[in-house]
C-alpha cells in the first residue's frame, strides 16, 4: 500500500504486521498486513480491486476466485501472507486497456451473467480451464466451473459463454 503516511492509532500499536509483496495483475505491490488478513480483503480494501467479491466465506461459492500462479484459488479462505511472493490475477487483470479478454466478450455475447456477482470468479475459473484445455467439451466446462455458484443464470449460458470464448481463442491462435 502506498500512502504519504500511515496513522498510528491505539489499535495499530500492538498488532504484529508482516510485509507481503504480491504481483497483482502484473504489477508488484507491497503491503503491511495482519497475519490473519484474508487475501480477498487485501485485494478489495487494500488494493481497491473490488471486482473480487465475497459471497459465502467458506470456499463454497467461488465469487472470490482469483488466479494464484495461474491456478484458481478462493481468496476468501486464503491468507494474504500465503500469497506473498506469488502472482495473483483478478478480474481487473483480464482486459487490456484497449481490448476485452475473449472470456469477457463471451459472457456478454451469450448472456452469461445477470446480477454480475459471481461473474468475476466464473471468468477466472474459466480462464484457468482454457489455459490448460483450449478445446473443452460442455461436460469439461461444467466440471471446471463446479466450484462456482451462480443463482441467476442457471449455468447454461455460462457454459455457452466459455465455449464461445474457447472458439474465439482457438481461431485467433491458429
Amino acid at each position: 500500500m502506498t500512502s504519504l503516511f500511515e496513522e498510528i492509532t491505539e489499535t495499530s500499536v500492538d498488532i504484529p504486521v508482516r510485509r507481503v509483496t504480491i504481483t497483482v495483475n502484473g504489477e508488484k505491490r507491497s503491503a503491511n498486513v495482519e497475519p490473519r488478513l484474508l487475501l480477498a480483503h487485501l485485494l478489495r480494501q487494500g488494493f481497491k480491486l473490488t471486482g473480487t467479491h465475497t459471497g459465502c466465506d467458506t470456499t463454497n461459492c467461488g465469487a472470490c476466485t482469483v488466479l494464484v500462479d495461474g491456478r484458481p484459488a478462493k481468496s476468501c479462505t486464503m491468507l494474504a501472507v500465503q500469497a506473498d511472493g506469488r502472482d495473483v490475477m483478478t478480474v481487473e487483470g483480464l482486459a487490456t486497456a484497449s481490448e476485452l479478454h475473449p472470456i469477457q466478450e463471451g459472457f456478454k455475447e451469450e448472456h452469461g451473467l445477470q446480477c454480475g456477482y459471481c461473474t468475476p470468479g466464473m471468468m477466472l475459473a474459466a480462464k484457468a480451464l482454457l489455459d490448460e484445455n483450449p478445446d473443452p467439451t460442455e461436460d469439461e466446462v461444467r466440471w471446471a466451473l463446479s466450484g462456482n455458484l451462480c443463482r441467476c443464470t442457471g449455468y447454461q449460458n455460462i457454459v455457452k459463454s466459455v465455449l464461445w470464448a474457447a472458439e474465439k481463442m482457438r481461431n485467433s491462435a491458429g
Binding site: T52, T90, E92, G116, T153
Partner: protein, 794 residues
C-alpha cells in the same frame, strides 16, 4: 424511411446488455464496494439458541478492545424506542433482543469498530446469559395445547397462532364433492428454503448532523418503501432520507424486508456521527433473513368419471417463524395462495389457511414468486397428477379436459381472480410434441420390464404476476403502482429513471428498448438509472415479477407523453396543423407529403431552441402507472427422469419449457430469466432446503449444509415460446421472471413420482434427496419431510 426497430435495439431485439460492460470488468458497484471517508464497521452478535430468556448481557469486555467505538444492546435501542420495529406484515419484530431470543440467529448485540475484524473480536467478547426455554420447530408443536407461548411480548396473543383465513364458496364446494365419482386426496410439505442471493444483505448508514440528512446505501429491492418506512417509523423527515440501492448481487425476494441490521446501522451512524457499514456474512444471511415457503398443504379434488373436475378443497398451515414478516402486499393473509387452479375450469373451490409462530427465523418471503404462488402451483400440479392417477386417466389428457379454453377469456378463476388471455392447450401441445410424449410412454413401459424406472412429469399453470393493481395490493397502505421519468436532452439522447430496481433482470437494457420502440430513439442513446430515492420517481421496487408489468408499462406511457409533445413541435417545425402529422418509428411526417418530415431528435432540439409560441420549453415527463389487472403468463413444463432404484439417485433426462409471457421485449433476457428459474425449480425439487433439528438449530446455515446446484448437477433446458399478448398492458407484455421457479418444481417431482408410482409410492416431500427416494422405493411408502430433521438418518 421508417427505422429498423431491431437495428436500433427496440422491441424484440436480443440486445446485448449494457450493464455487462461494467460487470465483466469487475467494475460493478455493490454495497460492500462503497467506501466513505471515516467509515466504521459493524458486526452483529446473534443468538446461538432458538428460544431463551436473556438473564443478562455483559458488554464490558467488548468495550475494552482497542478500536471499538460503540456497543449496542436491546436496552440501549429501547431508550430510542428502536428495540422493536413494525414488519411489512403488520406484526412487530425485535431489532435487538430485550426480553427473549425467539430463534437461533436472532440479533442480540452489535459492535461498531474501526475495522470488521475488530468488530468480530469484540462480538466474541460479549457474554450473554441465556435461560433456555422449550423450542417449537413446526406448526404441530406450535398448536399443541400447553405449547410454550413464543410471542409473550404481544398483547392479545394467547397462543402461537398468527392468523386464520378462508376464501371460496364452502357450500358450493361441499355440493361438488357430493356429486363426484372420484375424490382424490393429497398432503404435502413445501419445505423451508432460502432465496440466498450470492451477495448477502448489508447497509452503509451515513448521518450528516450538519445537514440533518441520512443517506443509506442498502441491499434493497424496494428503496422507496424503505424510505417511507424510515420516515413513518423512525419519524425522520422524508426529504432528509436518501436510500441508495446500488448494484445488487441478486435478490429473489430476500432483499424486500426491512432487517434489524439496517436499523442498527442507522442508529449507530446517528450516535457516532460517522458512516457505519454493516455487511452480513453468509451464515447471518441464511439463518436470520427472509426465508421462503415452509407450508403444509392438504386438499381434495372432486372429479367426474369423464375427467371433469367439479371442485377443490385446500387447507394450508404455514410456519412463519418468530415474527410475521413475510413482506407481502396483498390484502390476503396467505398471499395469493388462492390463485391455485387458475388455469383450470373448476366451478367450486374453498380454501382455509392457518399461520403459526415457531422458534425459527422470521419470513415467509416470496422467494422468486408472487406471494405464496409457488406453493399454490406446486400443490395444484401435484393434486392434478394424483387425481389423474386415481381416475386412471392419462395425465396430459386430464389436463387438456380441464384447461380453460382460448375462447373462454376473460375467465373467473375458482377463487375469484380474473384471467384475461392465453393459449393453454397450445402450450401443452407444443411441450408434449417437443418431449415426444407418446414415444416416451412406450420407452417407459419397455424400460420398466428391464428394471429401469423412467418417469415423465407435467406442470401447467398460469400465475398472477405484477403486483399490483392498487385496488388489491398495498404495502403499509401505499398503493402498488410504479413510475417512470424520461428526460430527452436537446441532442435527442435521453435519461430514464424508474421506481423499480434491477437485481440482474437487465432493466438498464430493456427499459431503453421500450423507449426505442415508442420513440425511435436508439436504445444506445438512452441511459437508465434506478435505485436512488433522491433522483428516481416514487415506485414500489422489483419483486413479484412486477417490473415489466408495472414499471415497464410506465416507461411506455411516459414515452407516449413525450411523443405527444413532440408531435406538436413537429407540426410547428413543418408548419402544418397537428392533425396533418403522421408518425412512423423515429419520425413525424406530413400525411400528404411523406418526404417532408422531422426526426424525434430534431423535435428534441427544437424543444430547447425553437418551440412553438406558448409551449413550455424542454422535453421531459413522468408517468405513474396503476395496472388494471395482474398479468397472467402461462407455462407448460415437462421433465423426464430416470430413477436409480438401488441408490435413489435420479437424473433429469430432458426438461422442456414452453412459456407464454406475451410480447417479449428482449428475447435473450427473457430466456435467461426462464433458465434461471428452472434451475431454482430443479434446486427445490432435488436438494435445496433449510430445516431444523429438535433444538431449533438451523441445518443449512452455510453452503456446506445448504446445497445449491452447480453447473455440474444442473440439467440442460429446452425452451419454446407461445405468444399471447397481454390485453391490458401497453406493449402486451406479461411478467416472466418467476414462472419457472413457480411451475417448475412440480414437473420434476411429478416425473420422479411417475417413475415410482407402480410401487405404490404416492408422495415424497421435497427435496427428493436420494435417501428419501431410496427409502420410498425400499419401503413402498410415502416420505414426509416435515421438521425436525431426523438425526439418525444414514
Amino acid at each position: 424511411m421508417s427505422l429498423d426497430e431491431i437495428k436500433i435495439g427496440g422491441m424484440g431485439a436480443s440486445r446485448r446488455r449494457v450493464e455487462d460492460n461494467r460487470f465483466i470488468r469487475g467494475r460493478g458497484n455493490y454495497v460492500d464496494d462503497v467506501v466513505l471517508p471515516g467509515m466504521l464497521h459493524m458486526e452483529i452478535l446473534r443468538s446461538p439458541v432458538a428460544h431463551a430468556r436473556i438473564r443478562s448481557i455483559d458488554v464490558s469486555k467488548a468495550w475494552e478492545i482497542p478500536g471499538v467505538r460503540l456497543v449496542l444492546t436491546g436496552d440501549m435501542m429501547a431508550t430510542r424506542n428502536l428495540a422493536w420495529m413494525p414488519t411489512l406484515s403488520y406484526d412487530t419484530q425485535a431489532v435487538l433482543a430485550t426480553d427473549k431470543v425467539r430463534f437461533q440467529g436472532q440479533e442480540v448485540a452489535a459492535v461498531i469498530a474501526d475495522d470488521p475484524y475488530i468488530a468480530k473480536d469484540a462480538c466474541e467478547a460479549i457474554v450473554v446469559d441465556y435461560e433456555t426455554l422449550p423450542v417449537i420447530v413446526n406448526p404441530d408443536q406450535a398448536m399443541a395445547s400447553g405449547a410454550t407461548l413464543i410471542r409473550d411480548d404481544k398483547e392479545n396473543q394467547p397462543d402461537n397462532k398468527v392468523f386464520d383465513w378462508e376464501v371460496g364458496d364452502r357450500p358450493a364446494t361441499d355440493k361438488a364433492f357430493e356429486e363426484a365419482d372420484v375424490v382424490s386426496e393429497i398432503e404435502l410439505h413445501y419445505p423451508r428454503s432460502h432465496p440466498s442471493p450470492l451477495e448477502p444483505c448489508g447497509s452503509i448508514a451515513d448521518f450528516d448532523r450538519s445537514t440533518g440528512k441520512l443517506t443509506v446505501y442498502m441491499t434493497t429491492q424496494a428503496p422507496h418503501i424503505i424510505r417511507a418506512a424510515v420516515a413513518l417509523v423512525a419519524e425522520l423527515p422524508e426529504h432528509m432520507i436518501r436510500i441508495i440501492s446500488p448494484d445488487l448481487g441478486g435478490g429473489f425476494g430476500n432483499k424486500v424486508p426491512v432487517y434489524p441490521g439496517y436499523v442498527i446501522s442507522i442508529l449507530a451512524s446517528i450516535l457516532t456521527e460517522r458512516p457505519v457499514k454493516w455487511i452480513e456474512d453468509k451464515t447471518g444471511n441464511l439463518i436470520s433473513t427472509g426465508f421462503g415457503r415452509d407450508v403444509y398443504l392438504k386438499g381434495q379434488m372432486a372429479v367426474r368419471k369423464d375427467g371433469k373436475i367439479l371442485g377443490v378443497r385446500m387447507h394450508t398451515i404455514s410456519d412463519h417463524g418468530a415474527f410475521f414478516s413475510d413482506a407481502q402486499p396483498s390484502k390476503f393473509k396467505i398471499g395469493l395462495m388462492h390463485s391455485a387452479f387458475a388455469c383450470y375450469d373448476i366451478p367450486a373451490a374453498h380454501l382455509t389457511a392457518e399461520g403459526y409462530y415457531t422458534n425459527k427465523a422470521p419470513g415467509g418471503v416470496a422467494y422468486r414468486c408472487s406471494f405464496r404462488v409457488t406453493e399454490a402451483m406446486f400443490f395444484q400440479e401435484r393434486m392434478i397428477q394424483a387425481a389423474a392417477d386415481d381416475l386412471g386417466m392419462d395425465q396430459a389428457e386430464f389436463r387438456r379436459i380441464n384447461l380453460v379454453r382460448d375462447d373462454d377469456f376473460p375467465h373467473r378463476t375458482p377463487f375469484g381472480f380474473l384471467t384475461d388471455s392465453g393459449q393453454y392447450g397450445k402450450c401443452l401441445d407444443v411441450a408434449l410434441e417437443a418431449i415426444g410424449y407418446e414415444q416416451f410412454l412406450k420407452d417407459q413401459e419397455e424400460a420398466r420390464k428391464n428394471g429401469r424406472y423412467l418417469g415423465i412429469g407435467i406442470s401447467t399453470m398460469t400465475e398472477p404476476l405484477g403486483a399490483g393493481n392498487s385496488r388489491e395490493y398495498d404495502i403499509l397502505g401505499i398503493k402498488m403502482f410504479d413510475s417512470a421519468e424520461l428526460r430527452v436532452h436537446m441532442t435527442g439522447k435521453a435519461i430514464l429513471r424508474t421506481g423499480a430496481k434491477t437485481q440482474g433482470q437487465g432493466h438498464e437494457t430493456t427499459w431503453a428498448q421500450i423507449v426505442a420502440h415508442e420513440l425511435g430513439i436508439p436504445a444506445d442513446d438512452v441511459v437508465v438509472e434506478e435505485g436512488d430515492t433522491d433522483t428516481a420517481p416514487f415506485g414500489m421496487g422489483t419483486y413479484a415479477s412486477r417490473s415489466t408489468p408495472v414499471a415497464g408499462a410506465a416507461v411506455a406511457m411516459v414515452a407516449r407523453k413525450i411523443r405527444a409533445k413532440s408531435r406538436k413541435i413537429a407540426a410547428h417545425l413543418l408548419e402544418v396543423s397537428e392533425e396533418d402529422i403522421e408518425w412512423e418509428l423515429g419520425r413525424f411526417y406530413v400525411r400528404s407529403s411523406p418526404d417532408r418530415g422531422v426526426t424525434i431528435q430534431e423535435c428534441a432540439m427544437a424543444a430547447y431552441s425553437n418551440m412553438p409560441d406558448g409551449m413550455e420549453p424542454g422535453l421531459e415527463n413522468t408517468a405513474y402507472y396503476d395496472p388494471p389487472n395482474l398479468t397472467w403468463p402461462f407455462a407448460a413444463y415437462v421433465a423426464t427422469v430416470e430413477v436409480d432404484p438401488e441408490t435413489g439417485v435420479w437424473d433429469v433426462l430432458r426438461m422442456v419449457a414452453v412459456d407464454d409471457c406475451g410480447v417479449r421485449i428482449n428475447p435473450m433476457i427473457v430466456e435467461g430469466q426462464i433458465m434461471g428459474g428452472l434451475t431454482e425449480a430443479y434446486a427445490m425439487a432435488s436438494m435445496q432446503f433449510i430445516t431444523f433439528d429438535a433444538e431449533g438449530n438451523c441445518v443449512g446455515s452455510n453452503y456446506m449444509d445448504y446445497l445449491l446446484p452447480t453447473a455440474w448437477e444442473t440439467p440442460g433446458f429446452e425452451l419454446h415460446e407461445v405468444v399471447t399478448p397481454c390485453p391490458h398492458h401497453p406493449i402486451g407484455a406479461k411478467g416472466i421472471g418467476e414462472c419457472a421457479t413457480v411451475g417448475g418444481p412440480a414437473a420434476f417431482v411429478n416425473a420422479v413420482m411417475n417413475a415410482v408410482e407402480h410401487l405404490g409410492v404416492r408422495n415424497i416431500d421435497m427435496p427428493l434427496l436420494p435417501d428419501r427416494v431410496h427409502e420410498a422405493i425400499a419401503t413402498r411408502s410415502d416420505i414426509s419431510g416435515a421438521p425436525p430433521v431426523r438425526t439418525d438418518a444414514p
